[in-house]
C-alpha cells in the first residue's frame, strides 16, 4: 500500500511548492468517506452484476501496485513532480 505521496510544483517565478501526504493517516482521517465510497462501489457492482469481492480485490490490487509510480513534467520554468512511495 502507498505510504507517502509527494507533490512538487515549480512555478514560473522559480518558487517551488512541496507537499508530502502521508497516505495512511489521511485515509484514517477520511475513513468515513472511504467507507461510503466502498459502499457505493459495492452497490454499483451489484447493479451491474459484478462480483463485489472480485471488484474490491482488484481495486486493492491496483492501490497496492501504486508505489513506485512517478510522473515528472517540465515545461520551460514550470515543473510538476508526483511520486508515490
Amino acid at each position: 500500500m502507498p505510504q507517502l505521496l509527494t507533490v512538487r510544483v515549480k512555478r514560473p517565478d522559480g518558487r517551488p511548492i512541496r507537499i508530502w501526504v502521508p497516505v495512511l493517516p489521511v485515509v484514517l482521517v477520511f475513513s468515513p468517506v472511504v467507507a461510503l465510497v466502498v459502499l457505493v462501489a459495492a452497490v454499483a457492482c451489484l447493479v451491474y452484476r459484478i462480483s463485489v469481492v472480485r471488484a474490491l480485490g482488484t481495486g486493492w490490487r491496483v492501490i497496492s501496485a501504486l508505489p513506485g509510480t512517478r510522473v515528472d513534467i517540465e515545461q520551460g520554468r514550470s515543473a510538476v513532480l508526483v511520486t508515490i512511495r
Binding site: S64, R70, V71
Partner: protein, 140 residues
C-alpha cells in the same frame, strides 16, 4: 548458447568434425553454460519492474520534458480491473469508437491476451526521434 550448439551440429553435418568431437564440444558448452548464462542476458525476462516513458520536446523555444515511471504491477492490476468492465459499457464504448472511425471491438480483447502483452513488455523499446521531439518507451 543454442546458436553455438547449432554451429557444432552444422559442422558435424558438413563433415568438418566427427561425432565424437561434436559430443565433446557440446559437453564443453554444457559445462560452460552456468557461468555464461548471466552475460547472455543482462536483464533476464520478467525482471523489469517499471515502464518508463521519456519525452523531450521543444515548444516555442522552451524545452519540455515528461518522465513517467509506471510499475508493471500496476499495468497487470489495470488489466484485471479492465476485465470487470460490464459488457453493456463495452458495447457503448465500441459504438463510440465506431462513430469516431475506429472499428475496434473491445469485447474481443481478452484479459489473458492483455496479461501476455504486459508480460512481454520488458522486451520492448520504442524510440521516436524528431527534430523537435524525442520519445523513448522502455522497461527497466
Amino acid at each position: 548458447m543454442n546458436e553455438q550448439r547449432k554451429d557444432i551440429l552444422d559442422m558435424l553435418a558438413e563433415g568438418k568434425i566427427t561425432a565424437a568431437e561434436a559430443e565433446q564440444l557440446i559437453a564443453a558448452l554444457e559445462r560452460a553454460q552456468p557461468e555464461a548464462a548471466p552475460s547472455l542476458d543482462a536483464r533476464p525476462k520478467g525482471r523489469a519492474k517499471y515502464l518508463r516513458v521519456l519525452v523531450d520536446t521543444v515548444e516555442n523555444g522552451e524545452p519540455g520534458r515528461v518522465n513517467v515511471r509506471v510499475p508493471l504491477q500496476l499495468l497487470r492490476a489495470g488489466v484485471r480491473l479492465a476485465a470487470l468492465i460490464p459488457p453493456q459499457a463495452l458495447g457503448q464504448a465500441n459504438a463510440e469508437l465506431n462513430k469516431s472511425g475506429v472499428p475496434f471491438d473491445l469485447t474481443q480483447l481478452k484479459p489473458e491476451q492483455l496479461e501476455a502483452l504486459v508480460e512481454h513488455l520488458d522486451e520492448m523499446t520504442v524510440e521516436v526521434d524528431q527534430p523537435d521531439a524525442k520519445v523513448r518507451v522502455f522497461c527497466e
